[in-house]
């Protein structure tokens, strides 16, 4: 088998400013540090918001209070710049503290299209759902208790990409002391795949197996969402990448990583 660290060296994290959390970026930084890869952050300013802001009745409802106020292009642009600056500072700090090379690219467009285009030459593409309506609390987090680390999910279809995904997932699980959840295709031979996964994962990792309900299901992410998840690694399909990603992102509450 080919060593992962020899070939995996470019990581893209596509940031959706509307999601307002930097979880995908934090995870990407961690992965880049682990595999000594180059991290590129793609900050996508959603063109839909700018279009909406031009409409005469455009209103924005405050996340915390529900009060309505006009949505203006200038305000949207200011907010985007502020978010981009936040990302830049985070990246800069990560580059210094984790000794990784980074770059930031800001584009205006549609999130998925921009991510697919920029991630063409990357080994890992971190995505978050740009369309989900998941609620992000505006309140500051209260000190939370020490919880067990969330498991890492990986879709294993026996492809070379899924083996790389598995390899990276195993490494992360070992570092975090997290469990590994392996999602198998609906038609996979469970025993055979288990053996392969075990052989690749090695000893000392708790592995749990799940099966994708339907290969054409649009709710792949949702099935993962019902369980706890820190990261979902999916081998990049040869089919249309955007559709492939959207299929797994649907309802997903953790970053999705497409692995080449």
């Amino acid at each position: 088998m080919q060593s992962g660290t020899d070939t995996i060296n470019r990581i893209l994290v596509a940031l959706n400013p509307a999601a307002r959390d930097l979880e995908a970026l934090e995870q990407a930084v961690e992965m880049a540090a682990r595999i000594r890869g180059h991290l590129m952050a793609l900050f996508v300013e959603d063109v839909n918001l700018f279009d909406l802001a031009e409409l005469p009745f455009a209103r924005e409802l405050d996340r915390a209070s529900g009060s309505a106020r006009p949505l203006e292009s200038a305000a949207v642009a200011r907010a985007m710049r502020a978010d981009a600056e936040r990302v830049r500072r985070t990246l800069q700090a990560a580059a210094q503290s984790r000794q990784i090379s980074t770059e930031l690219k800001v584009v205006r467009g549609h999130y998925m299209a921009a991510a697919v285009e920029a991630g063409a030459g990357c080994n890992f593409v971190f995505l978050s759902d740009a369309t989900t309506v998941a609620y992000a609390s505006p309140r500051a987090r209260q000190p939370s208790m020490q919880r067990r680390p969330k498991p890492i999910w990986v879709l294993f279809d026996a492809s070379p990409a899924s083996e790389r995904a598995l390899s990276v997932a195993v490494g992360l699980c070992r570092e975090r002391g997290a469990g590994l959840m392996v999602l198998l295709p609906p038609d996979a031979d469970l025993d055979v795949q288990r053996s392969r996964v075990q052989a690749l994962a090695g000893a000392g990792i708790a592995v749990d197996y799940h099966r994708l309900p339907d290969p054409d299901s649009a709710a792949g992410g949702a099935s993962v969402m019902r369980e706890d998840c820190a990261l979902f690694l999916v081998p990049r399909s040869a089919q249309d990448v955007a559709d492939h990603a959207a299929r797994f992102l649907k309802g997903l509450r953790c970053p999705l990583v497409l692995v080449s």
């Binding site: 924005e60 405050d62 529900g66 309506v133 208790m145 020490q146």
Partner: protein, 803 residues
């Protein structure tokens, strides 16, 4: 009248009759458990400690060194042994008003056990609570609750998003919230120009739909805090359930150990409820700063369950008898201390410190009255506590009214204590006069006498007292002769041969010093010589000034004649008191007389060097002269009296006899024997009255005479009333016995004048005439002569005026 004979030597010193001391050394004597010679004070102390009514606290008054403290302590300890042990007191957390810690009363000896149990509970809780919240089950249930909330919110938003999608509208996240955007036929957000091209009705429809969706979204957002609150409540219930499970068996364990104490049971119920209600405070993540601040590993909130034992009577078997050497406000009523932490002053109930009122509660408190009064607010604090019958700890600055900082206000503790103030008499009378509350709060006066009557039985008891002091201080036992000498010395200290001084401090000091000299001489017992040496050595150490004064007299700097005879000049005797030592000093008093109109000038008074009592004595003289010698003619004399070479204040009337004799001598030109010295006061009738320090005065004159050589003519005239006070030094007594020195006791001026002049004083015959060549005749004639001259002088002046 016949001049009195000199006093016999045995009258000058009353020796102790050793035949009444039936022992060889004091080791044969039983220790004296009772107090000697204070019947009045003892009665008052027994009464004061026996009565339990309000305000019957005790003031033990008397001069320092009379054994007030030892006696009071002894009596109180006897009474305390008969009383039940008072309860323990501790402060615990007040769950309703945290700044007012509750006082908890526990049976004697239980407070420490309870405190230790609570310490153990805190230790156990600090481990049990985090452990309970680290279980897999707890995490799963919390995550389930959070997921429920998340799904509820996302579900509501998702349904709205679906409804929007059915209306060809997209639900979008904006940087600060949400928005709805209409879509074009390609499924993208419609461009503004495309929207403008739409028919007006379609535009209004879109706007209406967006508006409707926004209102629905607002309703949903408004539900979010409610759902969050519901979830928080569920989380809290879950946490309480887990906390209760973790702590109830620990609390039950302590409750079982203190099952007989309802107050403790009640408090522990409160503790359990408080832990369950506030369990988040006790989880490690609630106090992340603890390690930075160098705090304990225990969760900070648990510290509030600590028990502060204020008073512990464990291991004691009598009610407390407490003496406070430094009775300041805080030491009396307690205080709340603070600890500095990160630049702030913090406090908690464990920093409440007991005062002596707490420690003596249920027993007795002994205080030095003067020390209480000189400490700021201590007297007020003590009175307030006694008046209110409770101990309220208040910061000093609050008591002063200076500041009103946030601090603890510990619950007052009921007070039942008997306070005994120890102080001098003047202070007692001062307080009685100036402080109305004093009489209400200290109704029992225990008056300690400085002396007791000297008789055979008392001397035996006194011997036991000496033996007890020696034994308790590990001093050498005293031989019988030594005891006798101490008894005689005590009579001398009392200034009365029929009394004994019970200045225990001085007595104890004397025994220690005698013990020192006995040990230096390698003796197994203290002998009479050791006692005498101790007395002499003590005098020697402090008599530098006396030696200096005597040296001045010896050199003639201070003029004192001890032989010859002179009119208008006499040796008076005064006493210089140096506090712990006093000595007699002869002083020359002179008088002059001339024609005048009855003025008697006291030069001391004119120069403001005479005290009021001295001036009174001199004024008496002029009236004595007038009433005795000038009843039928005007007192036509101008006389003056002065203490020669006296440059300080002269006070007292003990020289008035000498001054009168000098005056009579000057008037009658009667030479006075300078080998004699005189002391005594005199009244208008010419009777001689007692004075103080008679022994010191006699010895002072004796020392001067002895230095110049005793002639047998030298003597001191003292008032008859002072003879019982005589306890003179042995060398004086020996000189008197050998006829080399004498002491005369006189009862009238006439007796004194006879001794001083060698002439009879003379009594008026039936015609009212004094005998020829008598003192009084000479004086009267001199006064009549002056009166006649004055009359003639007045007539000649009248003639001159008529001319």
């Amino acid at each position: 009248m016949t001049a009195p004979p000199p006093l016999e030597a045995k009258a000058l010193y009353v020796s102790c009759d050793q035949s009444r001391l039936h022992f060889d050394t004091t080791t044969e004597l039983e220790e004296l458990d009772d107090v000697l010679g204070q019947p009045r004070a003892l009665e008052a102390l027994h009464f004061g400690t026996g009565i339990s009514s309000d305000g019957f606290n005790i003031y033990a008054l008397g001069t320092p060194g009379t054994g007030k403290f030892e006696t009071v302590k002894q009596i109180l300890e006897q009474q305390a042994a008969k009383r039940e042990l008072p309860p323990d007191w501790c402060y615990v957390y007040n769950f309703k008003q945290p700044h007012k810690p509750n006082a908890l009363q526990l049976p004697a000896g239980h407070a420490v056990k309870f405190r230790d149990d609570m310490e153990q509970l805190i230790d156990d809780l600090s481990a049990a609570i985090p452990a309970a919240f680290e279980t897999e089950e707890y995490h799963s249930r919390i995550e389930e609750l959070e997921r429920q909330l998340s799904e509820r919110r996302d579900g509501a938003l998702g349904e709205l998003a679906d409804e929007a999608a059915r209306n060809n509208i997209r639900f979008l996240h904006t940087p600060a919230g949400f928005a709805f955007a209409p879509l074009d036929e390609k499924g993208e957000v419609i461009r503004p120009d495309a929207f403008e091209r739409l028919p007006a009705g379609e535009k209004r429809g879109i706007e209406h739909t967006v508006d409707t969706l926004q209102k629905k979204l607002q309703k949903i957002i408004h539900q979010f805090p409610i759902w969050q609150k519901e979830t928080r409540e569920k989380v809290k219930q879950l946490e309480q359930e887990i906390a209760r499970y973790a702590v109830e068996h620990l609390i039950a364990d302590i409750k079982a150990r203190h099952g007989d104490l309802p107050e403790v049971q009640e408090y522990l119920d409160d503790v359990e409820k408080d832990i369950v209600d506030n369990v988040r405070d006790f989880r490690p993540e609630a106090n992340p700063q603890a390690s930075l601040l160098g705090g304990s590993s225990q969760p900070q909130g648990l510290a509030r369950y600590k028990v502060n034992v204020l008073v512990d009577h464990g291991g004691e078997n009598a009610a407390p008898v407490v003496y406070q050497d430094l009775p300041n406000y805080a030491n009396l009523v307690g205080r709340v201390e603070y600890r500095a932490q990160m630049g702030m002053l913090l406090t908690d109930l464990t920093l409440i410190k007991a005062g002596d009122l707490h420690r003596s509660n249920g027993g007795y408190l002994i205080l030095d009255a003067e020390r209480v009064l000189v400490q700021p607010l201590a007297w007020d604090g003590l009175k307030r506590a006694l008046r209110s019958r409770e101990i309220r700890i208040e910061p000093l600055e609050k008591a002063f009214g200076f500041m009103s900082t946030v601090s603890l206000e510990p619950e007052p503790i009921p007070l039942e204590v008997k306070v005994v103030l120890i102080g001098e008499r003047w202070l007692y009378y001062l307080l009685s006069y100036h402080d109305p509350e004093f009489a209400d709060l200290f109704k029992v006066a225990a008056d300690f006498d400085e002396h007791m009557d000297r008789d055979g039985e008392v001397e035996t008891g006194f011997a036991r007292l000496l033996g007890t002091i020696a034994a308790r201080n590990r001093l050498l036992p005293l031989k019988r002769q030594a005891v006798a000498r101490v008894i005689e010395h005590s009579a001398r200290v009392a200034g009365d041969s029929a009394k004994l001084s019970i200045q225990l401090r001085g007595l104890s000091d004397l025994l220690h010093e005698a013990d020192y000299w006995a040990r230096r001489a390698e003796r197994a017992h203290v002998t009479r010589d050791d006692v005498q040496r101790a007395i002499d050595a003590r005098v020697f150490r402090v008599d530098r000034i006396r030696s200096h004064v005597y040296e001045l007299i010896e050199r003639g700097t201070l003029k004192i004649d001890t032989d010859g005879a002179k009119a208008g000049q006499i040796n008076a005797l005064s006493v210089i008191d140096l506090g712990d030592f006093s000595f007699g000093q002869p002083s020359r008093v002179t008088a002059t007389a001339r024609l005048g109109s009855g003025e008697l000038v006291d030069i001391q008074r004119e120069t403001e060097l005479g005290g009021n009592v001295h001036s009174k004595g001199v004024l008496i003289l002029s009236h004595y002269l007038a009433s005795r010698y000038a009843t039928n003619h005007p007192l036509s004399v101008a006389a003056s009296l002065v203490f020669e070479q006296s440059y300080g204040l002269v006070e007292g009337d003990s020289a008035s006899l000498a001054e009168l004799c000098a005056l009579l001598s000057a008037l009658g030109q009667l030479p006075i024997e300078q080998s004699l010295a005189v002391t005594g006061s005199v009244n208008q009738l010419g009777e001689v009255q007692a004075i103080g320090s008679v022994n010191e005065k006699i010895e002072g004159y004796f020392d001067i005479c002895k230095a110049r050589g005793l002639t047998g003519n030298q003597a001191v005239l003292i008032p008859q009333a002072n003879t019982r006070h005589l306890m003179l030094r042995h060398d004086v007594v020996e000189a008197a016995a050998a006829g080399k020195f004498a002491v005369y006791a006189v009862s009238s001026v006439d007796e004194a004048m006879e001794l001083l002049t060698g002439l009879a004083a003379g009594e008026r015959d039936k015609d009212g005439v004094f005998p020829a060549e008598s003192v009084n005749r000479r004086v009267e004639e001199a006064l009549i002569s002056l009166a006649m001259r004055r009359h003639e002088f007045a007539k000649s002046e009248e003639g001159d005026e008529e001319d």
